[in-house]
């Protein structure tokens, strides 16, 4: 950082409390012109709260926000935008039924004169996309674009509004390694143009690759701020965690017979999301099968088929040695399948149910928890209390609504719920998404323990590092097609990336013919 650096944005001693919880405790963050600052922290560390204060969604209890020297009024959601701060959210805010150009210009041009300035806008978008290497056709409908392209549209949208400070929230979560490299190239171009960037992430190597400085949040407090050239990944992980992070040890696999197999399973596409295309897969005892792939390439259909929510249009689900005739979530659970859902808030738990009610959600009909249509709350409570104890779920008590728990504790309850039934097959769909490293290690160690006692695990993840660290066998899914099986250590991330982008399949076909 040079001495005459110009400060673009500064958050000064921001404090925000929600009742008992202090989400941000005197957090300060400054970005200079032409600088990338990474905001690193576990889930629940206060990153989102800080950004919501910047954009006026929350009012800080104390502290100020300054953009290019001017203090922003608190609680005004237009102020930050007007001052030239733009944000690319993790979940895109695009209208699928509009074109790229319409999405970009939406809200910039007057709705009363819709025809004015179209040609000029198009020229400008073309210029921006050329300058920043953001290749995307302005006339394409957003609904037809890939996730990576949509992100480019989001960035173009911000650039079109002449933002001076760009905030990216977990931008690489949905990208292949190659797309991530492209994104970083674009960001470097933006820096060269004098933009400032805040890069929110929990991926250490990406932070090291793109950021000039890192600000680490832990439990709402600043755990430190360092220049990336003065630190390394281990030091950052320690700062984020408080203790040295230990990746799980993986012993060699001793696979058994397949416990669950899919044979030529095909499912229908859902809108633009592909279904499975004649997929065959075997889950063997004592083995973790990793399913890598970019988000929205058929993972959901795979999880639904294995989890009992979706019946294949063609092909069979084979449980042990028997072909399944009727396939429902309840039958899947009864057959010994533990299901860790992708979205613990939307499908894994019921927010307003307490921990007891959530603990018995999959098995309230079993004799363990009900009899003749009447629930046994005493047994149910004992079950929930057992999980809270054994899986270290931090909560005020089993009769707390689960929405008051952090993501990690919610996931621990789900883990306990499914693992207490001593399952033979475990479907783990994005099991650590949004969790802090402590919780990540805990979940991973539970999956490895299940593998050690002979369970078959299917790990679906968009995080290639996670898949490569844990899986004995890796398949890549792209556009609903499943790659051949790769053994642990057989492929590099770059090679898997080619498969994730769908190119491996074409080479495969070319080799075969």
């Amino acid at each position: 950082m040079s001495k005459d650096a110009v400060e673009a944005l500064s958050l000064n001693a921001i404090t925000k409390r929600f009742g008992e919880l202090t989400a941000n405790d005197a957090v300060s963050l400054a970005v200079n012109v032409g600088e990338v600052v990474a905001l690193l922290g576990e889930n629940g560390a206060g990153k989102t709260t800080l950004m919501n204060i910047l954009f006026g969604q929350y009012t800080a209890d104390s502290g100020t926000v300054r953009v290019f020297g001017d203090t922003l009024p608190s609680g005004n959601s237009r102020a930050a935008l007007d001052a030239g701060v733009g944000m690319v959210h993790q979940h895109f805010t695009l209208a699928d039924n509009l074109t790229v150009q319409e999405n970009i210009t939406l809200g910039v041009h007057s709705l009363l004169k819709p025809s004015l300035g179209r040609a000029a806008a198009k020229t400008r978008i073309a210029a921006l996309s050329k300058k920043f290497h953001l290749a995307v056709s302005p006339d394409a409908r957003v609904g037809t674009l890939s996730v990576g392209e949509r992100q480019r549209v989001e960035i173009l949208k911000a650039l079109y509004r002449d933002v001076r400070i760009l905030i990216l929230d977990e931008p690489t979560a949905v990208l292949t390694p190659q797309e991530t490299d492209d994104l970083f190239a674009t960001l470097r171009l933006a820096i060269a143009e004098g933009l400032s960037i805040i890069f929110i992430s929990h991926k250490l190597h990406e932070v090291m690759a793109i950021a000039d400085r890192v600000v680490v949040l832990r439990h709402g407090k600043m755990a430190g701020g360092v220049n990336t050239k003065d630190t390394d990944e281990n030091a950052l992980a320690e700062m984020m965690m408080g203790t040295e992070a230990t990746p799980p040890e993986v012993s060699p696999a001793k696979p058994d017979a397949p416990l669950l197999a899919l044979r030529n399973v095909t499912t229908a596409d859902v809108g633009s999301v592909p279904g499975l295309k004649s997929v065959s897969l075997a889950l063997k005892g004592g083995q973790i099968v990793g399913l890598a792939g970019v988000s929205g390439n058929g993972q959901a259909a795979m999880a639904d088929v294995v989890g009992g929510l979706l019946n294949p249009n063609e092909g069979q689900v084979i449980l042990g040695s028997e072909t399944v005739q009727k396939w429902t979530p309840r039958i899947a659970v009864q057959s010994g399948i533990a299901r860790i859902p992708e979205d613990r808030h939307k499908t894994g738990t019921i927010a307003d149910f307490d921990l007891v009610e959530n603990a018995i959600l999959e098995r309230y009909k079993s004799p363990a928890f009900s009899n003749g249509g009447w629930l046994n709350w005493r047994k149910s409570r004992a079950f929930a209390d057992g999980i809270i104890d054994k899986y270290d779920v931090r909560c005020p008590g089993s009769e707390t609504p689960i929405r008051l728990l952090s993501g990690g504790n919610m996931q621990k309850l789900i883990l306990g719920r499914v693992l207490e039934a001593d399952p033979q097959i475990i479907l783990a769909n994005q099991p650590v998404r949004g969790l802090d490293i402590g919780a990540v290690n805990y979940v991973h160690s539970q999956l490895l323990a299940a593998r050690a006692r002979g369970a078959a695990v299917l790990l679906i993840s968009e995080d290639l590092d996670e898949v490569m660290a844990l899986s004995d066998v890796i398949h890549v899914i792209a556009d609903g097609r499943l790659s051949p099986e790769f053994k642990r250590g057989e492929m590099t991330p770059a090679q898997l990336g080619l498969w994730m982008a769908g190119q491996g399949f074409e080479m495969d076909v070319a080799n075969a013919s």
Binding site: P329, T347, T349, I350, D352
Partner: protein
């Protein structure tokens, strides 16, 4: 301005807004009574006297609360599953229709079996009326708000057709009303000589049953799960559509009991003015009760008290009876607002 939920409301937070709502209602009603030429300071006393001030008044209020408990329960049960049954009015008339069909002596059944049979048939009729909207929703995604609401009008016209035709009482001097039900089909009074009938007892009993079902049974658990988060319920293996249909059957059956109890306990025959909108008022009752089955009893007594008390007040103070309607509407609007304010705080941006 926006609303922010309150995590742990204090006792004052829970009590003050409803109290202010009640006081405001009285002030507004008093003001209107003054405009109409009555003494504004006598209004509150007259209302209380008219609703709870004498044995007769209390019994009148309890009688008026009875159908509201049934329709309130019907709505509360359905809304728990986020099944928006706006058609309690039609289901009420279905129950009433079944009561006069079976209660006018066409069945050669022993007298002790007639009432249970009628009750069963009425519940069935109400359930069937709501079955069609439930199936349309679960099969084709048709919005039940539209179907249940519009079906109210269809069913009322259907009743009108019957009362002008096949069901018309030959002894009714040309009025569109059905024949009277036989004494064996009437709900007996709880205490001889007092006007309160066993429909009220049945209503209290139903509320307790529904409360037990909601808190203890697997069905109640399923209904709450489906209402709170359909996706999570489906993921966990709860058959969402089956639960919605079961909820609809339960809800329709409860609403039909309101019609049964009005005919068998009070009116004795079916007319087109059997219900002054009990089905719609049931929605308000359920909302006031925050969908709690036991709360429905309290909310019904409150609403019935205002109905009866304001009616009596308008007669005693010689002001138009419309004042009673205005007062009820004011009370309900303010109370709904007050209940919201017990759970949310208004934050000014």
């Amino acid at each position: 301005m926006r609303l922010e939920p309150i995590k742990n409301p204090t006792l004052a937070r829970k009590l003050v807004p409803p109290a202010i709502a009640l006081i405001s209602t009285v002030v507004i009603a008093s003001f209107l009574a003054m405009v109409a030429g009555a003494n504004p300071f006598s209004v509150i006393g007259l209302i209380l006297k008219g609703s709870f001030g004498s044995q007769f008044a209390i019994l009148e209020t309890l009688n008026r609360a009875t159908p509201l408990i049934f329709t309130g329960l019907a709505v509360a049960v359905a809304f728990r599953a986020k099944f928006w049954n706006i058609g309690a009015e039609a289901q009420l008339y279905a129950g009433a229709l079944m009561t006069v069909l079976l209660g006018t002596g066409i069945l050669p059944w022993p007298s002790f079996a007639i009432l249970p049979l009628i009750i069963f048939a009425a519940i069935l009729a109400g359930a069937i009326v709501l079955l069609a909207p439930a199936l349309l929703k679960t099969r084709f995604g048709v919005d039940e708000v539209v179907t249940t609401l519009l079906f109210n009008f269809i069913f009322l016209l259907f009743i009108s057709m019957l009362l002008e035709g096949v069901l018309k009482d030959p002894m009714g001097m040309g009025w569109p009303k059905s024949a009277r039900i036989i004494p064996e089909a009437k709900l007996p009074r709880i205490v001889d000589g007092l006007r309160l009938h066993w429909g009220f007892g049945l209503a209290i009993f139903s509320a307790i049953c529904i409360w037990i079902i909601q808190t203890r049974s697997t069905l109640g658990y399923e209904i709450r799960a489906v209402g709170l988060n359909k996706d999570a319920a489906a993921f966990a293996g709860i058959p969402v559509n089956v639960v919605i249909v079961k909820t609809a059957l339960l809800s329709g059956g409860l609403a039909a009991l309101a019609g049964f109890s009005e005919v068998a306990g009070l009116k004795g025959s079916l007319t087109l003015d059997l219900s002054p909108g009990f089905g719609y008022t049931g929605i308000i009752v359920a909302m006031l009760a925050l969908l709690n089955p036991l709360g429905v009893i309290v909310a019904s007594l409150f609403v019935a008290g205002i109905f009866v008390g304001a009616d009596s007040m308008s007669r005693a103070a010689d002001v138009p009876t419309y004042l009673a309607d205005i007062m009820l509407a004011t009370a309900l609007l303010l109370m709904v607002l007050a209940i919201m304010l017990t759970r949310f705080r208004v934050v000014r941006d």
